[in-house]
Point group: C2
Chain length 207, copies 2
């Protein structure tokens, strides 16, 4: 018995994420968010409690998307675990996160992991951002480590290697790819890096 919302929450937060990605947190004003989302200032404040709130909630839905997409993309039969790891590394080149419904980024600089980018910019002064970014990292960690274990079970990776250590390293490489991509290096170069990383994964000792 009241006026209904005229916007879709997730849609708005997604548009805000795009804006934050391209211009950074401190580089976007509330008016920018307003323009990007089509929401008026008043509604923004009433619904999300200002810039802080928009960022936190945008990161929260980003996390949810990751939490759904990452396991789906990296889980599967042991036989194809290596292929999935390979695909994950290559996908990082174009900055496409693991979630399916994320549109390709307009330019490479905005392609980096949203959580990582925000953590780099304001994580030091906003502990909530740091926490949310860490949650994103954890979700990916678990999915990648599980995939590594699957590859080990299938005899594609050295069973003596610590799967968690390997997963950490792989994620570090993926995050590093974001940075190198921000320098403006070509996708071909980034692909080459990803392939090198994949090639160096420890294979089982020659029987």
């Amino acid at each position: 018995m009241a006026r209904p919302r005229s916007f879709d929450r997730d849609h708005v937060l997604h548009a805000a994420e795009r804006q934050f990605r391209t211009t950074g947190y401190n580089g976007t004003s509330v008016d920018d968010i307003s323009a990007a989302t089509g929401m008026g200032r008043g509604s923004l404040y009433a619904t999300f409690d200002g810039k802080h709130g928009v960022l936190h909630q945008a990161m929260s839905v980003y996390f949810t998307r990751l939490a759904q997409g990452a396991p789906k993309a990296l889980a599967g039969p042991d036989e194809s675990a290596m292929e999935r790891l390979h695909a994950y590394l290559l996908r990082a080149v174009h900055g496409v996160p693991l979630a399916a419904d994320v549109p390709p980024a307009p330019d490479r600089a905005a392609a980096a992991c949203f959580a990582a980018k925000m953590a780099m910019e304001v994580g030091a002064s906003d502990s909530e951002v740091k926490r949310l970014a860490n949650d994103c990292f954890s979700v990916l960690m678990t999915a990648v480590a599980d995939c590594v274990r699957a590859a080990q079970r299938n005899g594609d990776l050295d069973p003596d290697a610590d799967p968690d250590d390997l997963a950490y390293l792989l994620l570090t490489i993926v995050r590093g790819t974001d940075v190198v991509g921000a320098y403006g290096h070509s996708p071909a170069r980034l692909t080459s890096i990803a392939e090198s990383a994949f090639a160096l994964l420890p294979r089982p000792r020659h029987r």
Copy 2:
């Protein structure tokens, strides 16, 4: 026959760099820079042409420092090339750049490569920043690749591996370490990542 400057240019730019590191480019006002450097607004504008100029010139001296320090830290006899690569990876954990006179960062978030951090934040909209960051990357690339070649000559690394590819990968890992560090992970964890990376470097085929 005129009033002499009362400040040291490099000293000022170094203080500005520290400020940009901790609060980001868009997160620091000209007054912040003024307070951090001890220079008045007027002098800042007259000398550096505002925030843009301060950032560009601060990055420029950062580049100079890197261009001097990186070859020094990574060059040397072939016999100890592997040790130097190892040390380089471990040093990345604490975010200490290759230059000697850079003080240890106050917190890990500010420890990341200055050039990389600025490129991530404003590289998309400021091509000069992108260019300067790329120069920094190139200098490191050359130094690391040379060190890889030295290790190959000494028989510590697989001579069939492409030294440039390997150097790109190593730098990607170092940059990724910066990001993972920004999440708040412990130095122990970062050290573990660096050690894993070092352990995976391709050794020569068993003779």
